[in-house]
């Protein structure tokens, strides 16, 4: 029995969402009295990997090979399955992401393991193994029991707030080799386009978002300015990305990215139920809208009835004055 956390690397470092997953694994390892092993695939410096110890890793397995530089869903899943078998893992943990979800899904099939995503808290072990997961895009929760020997959990952002240990608990990392089905490399990533230097939406703690009330792609500067001053990531409503005012990956909501930042500032967004579905896990919601009857105010913590083009510069100035 042990725990295996699938971590993701970005520029050689363990992603913040994966740090949360390691921390979750560590808490669960304490409950189960077992080890919390970590699997990292791709290029990373051993110093960076050793930092996994700060979040409660027992040991890091590192699978590094030129072939793994570009994320490959099939290959990564083969490696995860092999690592789970070798370490005798009974619980596999990952943070929800566009890579971890398909990778763990395939591993679930390979190991015939029950898989549950969007987990929001540590499991209840009093009667089997039961986790709470968010369903209906944040509108409700379901207590879900997993009956298989091996269990796979996808952790939602902010399920637990990790507390990095201060006494730099460095852990050893050992290289891990797995036989990967050569067929995996017949599928190729030919190009990756990624906004540079910006925290991706699912990981962002601060988000400034614009809707149709921004009136056009040329009027985004006030949002960009506030986001810049705050160090926030920008988002938008679905019509805004449908109209190509903003890139598609910024679209949040029921059919877009689901986010759980500490602060979500909605500018000129009416607050349709499908929009709320993607942002209702935010800790604090601020709404700026000219219409006092806009439904978004009902879901907000702070509201300003006013014109975004008048209000946003005031907020930006106040942030800069801090």
């Amino acid at each position: 029995m042990s725990i295996l956390v699938f971590v993701e690397l970005a520029d050689g470092e363990i992603k913040k969402s994966s740090q949360e997953a390691i921390y979750y694994g560590a808490q669960l390892a304490k409950m189960l009295g077992t080890e919390n092993n970590v699997l990292a695939i791709g290029e990373a410096g051993s110093d960076n990997l050793a930092l996994a110890g700060n979040f409660g890793a027992t040991k890091v397995l590192h699978a590094s090979d030129d072939k793994y530089k570009a994320a490959n869903i099939m290959a990564y899943s083969d490696i995860l399955t092999a690592a789970a078998k070798q370490t005798g893992a009974t619980v596999i943990i990952s943070a929800k992401s566009s890579l971890a979800d398909p990778v763990t899904a395939r591993t679930a099939a390979a190991l015939k393991a029950g898989i549950v995503g969007n987990v929001t808290a540590l499991p209840d072990l009093s009667n089997g193994f039961t986790v709470t997961r968010s369903i209906f895009t944040g509108k409700a929760f379901a207590q879900t029991s997993i009956s298989t020997d091996i269990k796979i959990l996808g952790i939602k952002k902010n399920a637990l707030s990790p507390v990095a240990s201060t006494d730099k608990a460095v852990v050893e990392s050992e290289s891990f080799h797995a036989d990967v089905n050569a067929k995996a490399f017949e599928s190729k990533v030919t190009e990756t386009v990624k906004a540079k230097g910006i925290i991706p939406l699912p990981e962002a703690d601060l988000v400034v978002s614009g809707g149709r009330g921004m009136k056009g792609p040329d009027h985004w500067q006030p949002i960009l300015d506030l986001a810049d001053a705050l160090g926030a990531t920008t988002a938008c409503s679905k019509p805004v990305s449908d109209l190509d005012w903003r890139p598609h990956h910024e679209h949040v909501g029921q059919t877009g990215v689901k986010i759980a930042p500490n602060l979500y500032i909605a500018c000129g967004i009416s607050g349709a139920i499908q929009h709320l579905a993607g942002v209702n896990s935010s800790k604090v919601i601020v709404v700026i809208n000219t219409d006092p009857e806009a439904p978004f105010f009902k879901a907000a913590d702070y509201g300003i009835v006013g014109d975004v083009f008048d209000v946003l510069p005031k907020l930006t100035a106040a942030v800069k004055a801090l």
Binding site: T130, K194, H248, V284, A318
Partner: protein
């Protein structure tokens, strides 16, 4: 080309969610059910591919007889025939197993799904099916073009996208803007009535089960700040809400 499109039947996205029997049963009363919004994108792209280069589109749903209106709608949108595995879709592995069973018999070039259902939001059925069949799976796919045996795709990743190439057969979880949602026309609705809908029995087990539901705590009142004094919000976010 033979395409299998897997559709879920989910409550309309504006539905108010509630539970009965001491929060152990999902309350379907008064709710309108629709084809999963992401599955609808997969279906729309599948029908476009068929219109471009021929072939067939089969829709598949794992569900009880209550889902037949959504299956008929998929037929009206342009699918040629349908299969319903007669079972409550209780868990991802169980649903995937039913789909893999059908796929093994049908020799499909493409198995298209949505990126996730909008009820349980798992987003894993395509990956499980891919592994069960020993073929590649990709999700969320936002662009798909087929040239002979090769698929060119764009997949969304955090903060961007990646372009991919792979050879068929494939399992794909789809999302916009892969295609525009299609609305059935009158002719489609008429012909859908006579298109074949085969009902088959399930096999296999669920690996997970839901014992209870709960609702998030209600939001407190919204604190209003006058627009003239907008800047004071930043101080409140720092000292009161403690998020800055």
């Amino acid at each position: 080309m033979k395409i299998l499109v897997c559709i879920s039947s989910v409550p309309d996205t504006t539905s108010k969610i509630s539970f009965t029997d001491s929060e152990t049963v999902f309350n379907k009363a008064g709710l309108q059910f629709i084809i999963g919004p992401y599955d609808d994108y997969a279906l729309a792209r599948a029908v476009e591919l068929k219109e471009q280069s021929g072939g067939t589109v089969t829709v598949l749903n794992v569900g009880t007889v209550e889902t037949e209106p959504q299956i008929r709608k998929a037929l009206a949108i342009g699918a040629d025939d349908a299969i319903r595995v007669d079972a409550e879709p209780t868990d991802s592995y169980f649903v995937a197993e039913q789909i893999a069973n059908i796929a093994k018999e049908g020799n499909y070039d493409l198995i298209m799904m949505g990126r996730e259902t909008t009820d349980y939001n798992s987003g894993v059925v395509h990956g499980i099916v891919g592994e069960m069949l020993g073929i590649p799976s990709f999700s969320p796919v936002m662009e798909l073009n087929i040239d002979g045996n090769q698929a060119k795709m764009t997949r969304e990743i955090e903060g961007g996208k990646e372009k991919l190439e792979a050879s068929l057969p494939l399992v794909l979880g789809c999302q916009e803007p892969i295609a525009e949602w299609k609305i059935p026309n009158m002719r489609g609705i008429m012909t859908a009535r006579t298109k074949p809908l085969n009902v088959v029995a399930p096999s296999g087990d669920s690996l997970t089960s839901i014992s209870a539901y709960s609702m998030p705590p209600a939001k407190g009142a919204c604190k209003m700040i006058p627009a003239e004094d907008a800047g004071s919000l930043i101080n409140l976010l720092r000292t009161e809400a403690k998020v800055l």
